[in-house]
């Protein structure tokens, strides 16, 4: 019997999401705002939480909560296991070499301040230079300005093009001064959506012996980050943009650097021996986690990672990219609408202005249609200055957003135009 022709079976589309089931995971999405279905497009500011995260926090407080790392009793042991279990989940999520390299903080801002204060305070001297880019969030500008004020170091800013793409040659030129002690840059710009070529930027810095910090607040919910492959020295992000609770952040740091750095804050949990004469500090990661941390929050973030992993970041990214392309095309149909940030490599947000209408007014009118967007400077005033605008409107996407919601946004923007005609 002759062989049957081989059947070509298309592999299951891994990028296909079950949007109905994903949306059902988010209790908040069921509510109505001003009588309209909620269309939540302010995800770059903070993302909504799936039930799995809400339940994990609730279970912690109702089932096994106690302080960690000190009790001999069962609840403390269980809380400690859950807390340290979340650290392992974060390690795996970033593919870090060790859980000792995962420090829990309050948020991205605190993670960056930790590095500026501890690493910067010990390694940066007068005349040294810190490089950032022109598209940083204030949280990756101000800590370095404070460090420069304290030490006499100088902040250097790598510029970007009109499209919102970093000018790599300028970044490289700044690295060549021989005085650079750290390059700190954003992975995905919250104001433009630009995905920076961070791997290349790390390599360029390392070629000159310069360590790097990556602000990953906007990137971890949208693309896979492998810190060993990236080879960055520090990576900072927040739980609340990653479907986890607010009040929890992460600093990844290479162990050798973290070992050499002095503590950031002093207190309980970060010591091994304290006398009034001298204190010996705890090993990593506890050295950088002074005081009782956000225990339930960290556990909630662990649950968020489980939830996200079950969907798969590749599928999330593919869905968001399709939605971004659709939203971009639909928005450009509106006369007078200008998109700010048109980098070739761009993540799930659209920042825009509408001729004759201030973004604040757009935000208010959209709110009455049940649509939540951000209007303002997005904590990135230098980016606004770069384009000569006081503010923009920004619609930012998450895994639970749909084409229907993009349509609702576009329809509401036509109403804005009508009102301001």
């Amino acid at each position: 019997m002759s062989a049957l022709p081989a059947l070509t079976i298309a592999p299951a589309d891994k990028t296909e999401l079950d949007l109905t089931s994903i949306r059902a995971d988010f209790p908040i999405l069921r509510q109505r705002i001003h009588g309209k279905s909620l269309v939540y497009l302010d995800n770059a500011a903070s993302v909504q939480k799936p039930k799995a995260v809400i339940d994990a926090i609730s279970e912690c407080y109702s089932g096994y909560y106690a302080n960690i790392h000190r009790g001999v009793h069962l609840l403390s042991e269980r809380s400690t296991m859950a807390y340290e279990g979340a650290r392992e989940k974060v390690r795996a999520f970033l593919n870090a070499a060790s859980t000792q390299e995962i420090i829990f903080t309050r948020n991205t801002t605190e993670s960056i301040n930790l590095v500026a204060s501890s690493f910067g305070g010990s390694a940066v001297k007068a005349g040294d230079e810190i490089i950032i880019t022109g598209m940083e969030h204030h949280s990756n500008i101000v800590p370095w300005q404070l460090l420069c004020d304290r030490t006499g170091a100088v902040l250097k800013v790598a510029p970007f093009t009109d499209a919102g793409e970093l000018i790599l040659e300028e970044y490289e030129r700044l690295l060549n001064s021989g005085r650079v002690k750290l390059a700190a840059f954003v992975h995905i710009s919250n104001a433009l959506g630009t995905i920076n070529p961070v791997k290349m930027m790390v390599d360029l810095a390392h070629a000159r012996g310069v360590p790097t910090l990556v602000d990953g607040a906007q990137s971890v919910p949208h693309l896979t980050v492998d810190v060993q492959n990236l080879d960055c020295d520090f990576y900072a992000f927040s739980g609340h943009k990653l479907y986890g609770p607010s009040g929890v952040g992460v600093l990844y740091g290479k162990q050798a650097l973290l070992d050499a750095m002095p503590p950031y804050q002093g207190g309980g949990d970060m010591i091994s021996v304290v006398t009034f004469e001298k204190t010996e500090y705890a090993d990593l990661p506890n050295k950088f986690e002074a005081g009782t941390p956000n225990i339930a929050g960290v556990i909630g973030m662990g649950a968020a990672l489980d939830w996200l992993n079950a969907i798969g970041l590749d599928a999330v990214a593919a869905h968001e990219q399709q939605l971004l392309d659709y939203a971009t095309a639909q928005l450009l149909e509106i006369p007078g609408l200008v998109i700010m940030g048109t980098a070739r490599d761009k993540a799930a947000l659209v920042a825009f202005t509408l001729q004759g209408v201030h973004p604040h007014d757009i935000g208010t009118i959209l709110d009455r249609e049940g649509i939540a967007i951000r209007a303002g400077h997005h904590c990135a005033q230098p980016v606004m200055q770069r384009y000569g605008v006081p503010a923009t409107a920004r619609a930012s996407l998450a895994v639970y957003n749909s084409r229907d919601e993009v349509d609702a946004l576009v329809k509401a923007l036509w109403k804005v135009k009508e009102l301001f005609a």
Binding site: H358, H360, G376
Partner: protein, 147 residues
């Protein structure tokens, strides 16, 4: 749309599009900047005060429809008024945009901004220019902020 029309009344949209007294006074007796750090709005006000009377008043800057229209309406309301009436008008205006109280007397056209009371996040927009006038009279060197 109807409730939005309560906020964005025709008079407001008109003053936003064609702001009155939108210019720099060459030699003001008083001047100050007002900034709303939340949204980046910035308004400069200029006053020419002589013998306790506001002879001329103007503003410049970039802001949303509410802050622009409010500044424009304010300049119209204050021009020619004695300086010592500003506090009363500011208080009355503040009451209108922040409470459900009856519209105080003497506010005139300024009362079109009453719709702002249903939009608490926009109160700062409506009062920005007034804060700037206040700062100008106190001769603040730093821009006054609504935060």
């Amino acid at each position: 749309m109807n409730d939005l029309r309560d906020l964005y009344q025709e008079v407001i949209l008109d003053h936003n599009k064609r702001p009155r007294n939108f210019r720099i006074l060459p030699q003001p007796t008083h001047h100050a900047d007002g900034v709303n750090p939340l949204c980046g709005d910035r308004i400069s006000v200029f006053l020419d005060i002589d013998d306790g009377v506001i002879r001329d008043i103007s503003f410049q800057g970039a802001g949303c429809a509410i802050s622009s229209a409010s500044a424009s309406l304010m300049t119209e309301a204050l021009k020619g008024k004695p300086v010592n009436e500003i506090d009363y008008l500011f208080d009355a205006f503040h009451t209108v945009v922040t409470t459900d109280a009856e519209c105080p007397k003497g506010l005139g056209k300024l009362s079109v901004l009453a719709g702002v009371r249903d939009y608490p996040s926009r109160v700062k927009c409506a009062t920005l220019a007034w804060h700037a006038v206040h700062a100008a009279l106190e001769q603040h060197k730093q821009p006054v902020a609504t935060e």
